[in-house]
Symmetry: C2
Subunit: 145 residues, 2 copies
DNA sequence: ACGATAATCTACTAAAACAATAGGATAACA
DNA sequence: TGTTATCCTATTGTTTTAGTAGATTATCGT
């Protein structure tokens, strides 16, 4: 149970977009530089976010990416599910057909609770919250003056 | 963020042991049959649980495996960490050295919260709880009369 | 002592997921 | 019309996962 780089990179990338919300579009190159992520890899991650309707793009010179919705309306859960996949700890959570195994129902309950715990966190935080946290830590940190 | 079969199988296996706690040792073969898991694969998973001190074994005829501690003293977190690994959503949670990236601290906080949410669930449940749940669902289920 | 039983140990492997990399096509601006 | 930057498709090396295979060792009942 480890986050993929896909999710970590992608979350940082979309946060960069959120930090620039309302300003000019942000280019892949710029994000990749700021976040120290491979240009080409990031391209694919952003494509996923775009396909999910979280991000939109402008082509050509002075183009780039921006949020497709205001940051208040983007919950981290959407981003997470887009990048990380469906977050189904066990198959039987989605396909609760007859389960022949004796000890399975009890463990399934636990996997369900884990899923709900994770979703609980991700549903309660929006990109706007992240932006706020990010700006606050910028102010108080020695590193980001 | 999906559970590995390692963890799902292993959890079911140790629950089988918990269900037989106080009785005769349970053999790999038996568990593998009941839980429909490859004999040889299960062998390795149980070895992990044994190395972690959660399970002990008796060799030879009428041998097998049993819990090393009473089920009340085994929290799911121990089992989970043994099978799934350290559950570190992001490396920087463990190595909080200077982080050059602007938007990173905010996402790191989120990964921390996810970790705590998962641990919260896993710390609050013991094998004894699972046994109780398991027996209760046996009683009320049509499938397990 | 002997044979059956069941754990233990080590090595190998097929398949999938992951983390990129490469290169060209397309659209838009100037 | 050239430059910029997105878009699209394919390929690749590495790691992890989920097993298989086979030999060895300890223990018990007879």
């Amino acid at each position: 149970m480890k986050l993929s780089s896909r999710t970590r990179y992608g979350m940082r990338a979309i946060l960069e977009l959120a930090l620039e919300h309302g300003k000019a579009p942000l280019q892949i190159k710029t994000i990749a530089e700021r976040e120290d992520i491979s240009n080409k890899y990031l391209e694919q991650l952003i494509a996923m976010l775009k396909a999910a309707g979280l991000v939109r793009s402008i082509r050509g010179p002075r183009g780039g990416y921006m949020l497709a919705k205001p940051p208040e309306e983007i919950h981290l859960k959407e981003i997470f599910l887009t990048l990380e996949g469906p977050m189904v700890p066990a198959e039987c959570l989605e396909h609760p057909e007859y389960c022949p195994r004796c000890s399975d129902c009890a463990t399934r309950e636990i996997w369900r609770e884990l899923q709900e715990a994770v979703f609980g966190v991700l549903e309660s935080v929006t990109l706007a919250d992240l932006v706020e946290r990010s700006l606050r830590s910028k102010k108080t940190s020695n590193y980001h003056i």
